[in-house]
């Protein structure tokens, strides 16, 4: 029995370590701090945004698509407007550039961003 339990325990310990490090990364990881146009004016505090921004976007995505609700502050366009990173030419960079706000974290976390296969990754909402 001991022979079976030891690798299981080791695996569990490893997973726990991985979780702790993942949490640390999200909480304190190298984010593009200070890129927001209006610091402190985001729809939620930084910790909430880092943990939940994808769920917020998913929620808003369905409300916008199905119900036509287009709040000015919770759309993907609003995120891009505020978190735009200017390139050397003075224009906001797209997700093709590693300096793009979303990519600074998604590259490290190795999470692919699906949004920009259809949505423009540079700001410029037309309303």
């Amino acid at each position: 029995m001991v022979g079976v339990r030891t690798p299981v325990l080791a695996a569990l310990l490893l997973m726990a370590f991985a979780l702790v490090f993942a949490t640390d990364f999200v909480a304190t990881g190298a984010m593009a701090e200070g890129t927001a146009k209006w610091p402190g004016q985001c729809v939620a505090d930084s910790a909430t945004m880092r943990r939940n921004h994808f769920e917020m976007l998913l929620h808003q995505r369905d409300d916008t698509m199905r119900l036509g609700e287009r709040p000015s502050d919770r759309s993907l366009g609003a995120c891009l407007d505020c978190h735009a990173v200017k390139g050397a030419d003075g224009h906001a960079v797209t997700a093709a550039d590693s300096r793009h706000f979303c990519r600074t974290c998604h590259d490290s976390a190795a999470v692919r961003i699906d949004c920009f296969s259809c949505h423009n990754s540079a700001p410029g909402r037309g309303k």
Binding site: N52, M65, E69, R70, C118, R125
Partner: protein, 241 residues
């Protein structure tokens, strides 16, 4: 997620409860506060083909520029996206000719919605038929089902999408009746473009409102609808066909 929960959903549920508590009483569908897709409305177009001329494609050009579907592609021209096209028709019996733009007809009973295996093809509460490209798998059943050839498939990666018009490889797209503009209280871009040429052949409005300009004109001229035999109750009407 409490900070992003939407109070309008609760009011919608409350409205539904009211609806079921009072059976037999016809009520307007409850409308979530702040939602643009108003259930009482039915957006539609009335196209006056007597004012539309064969050589003019201002509406097509404006649509392509607004939504970016006419941007150059590397694929075969016959596979290029096309949200609206000009069609010249001739009645073989009388010889009468007409020219008209054909786009998504925003059917009340859309066949594209019937055949969609994922629910991506759907009709909004205000009658606008859309593709939810978040869940579209690109099977193109809807393209086969549409009697108006109104939908296109995107065959290659898209960049420089226009504001308010996401477009992406591997999904089906079509006329959205400029839903972003309509939600903002503006007219579809083809309507503005046609008015800009001085023809003013396209009228946009709420078909459910008996006092709207489009409803009054529909009552007055009893316009034709494409493939009326299919009884799809299309939202686009054609005067003078």
């Amino acid at each position: 997620m409490t900070d992003v929960s939407n109070p309008s959903r609760r009011s919608l549920l409350a409205g539904l409860a009211t609806l079921t508590l009072a059976p037999g009483i016809v009520l307007m569908a409850p409308q979530p506060a702040g939602a643009a897709a108003t259930a009482g409305k039915r957006w539609g177009l009335l196209i006056d083909t007597t004012k539309c001329s064969s050589g003019c494609d201002a509406c097509v050009q404006a649509c392509g520029a607004e939504h970016g579907w006419s941007d150059p592609t590397h694929g075969r021209p016959d596979q290029a996206p096309r949200w609206v096209r000009k069609v010249d028709v001739k009645d073989p019996a009388s010889g009468k000719t007409a020219s008209l733009p054909v786009m998504c007809q925003h059917c009340a009973k859309p066949p594209c919605v019937d055949v969609c295996p994922t629910g991506a093809s759907f009709k909004r509460a205000d009658g606008i038929v859309l593709v939810d490209r978040h869940i579209c798998i690109g099977c193109r059943y809807c393209m086969m089902a549409c009697p108006f050839k109104a939908r296109s498939f995107v065959h290659e990666d898209v960049t420089s999408q226009r504001p308010g018009t996401p477009r992406g490889n591997g999904t089906v797209e079509g006329c959205t009746l400029c839903v972003t503009r309509v939600d903002a209280g503006k007219l579809p871009v083809c309507v503005d473009a046609c008015a800009g040429t001085g023809k003013g052949a396209i009228l946009f409005g709420d078909l459910n409102d008996p006092n709207s300009a489009i409803s009054r004109r529909v009552r007055e001229v009893a316009p034709a609808r494409l493939r009326a035999d299919l009884r799809l109750d299309t939202g686009v009407h054609y005067q003078g066909l």
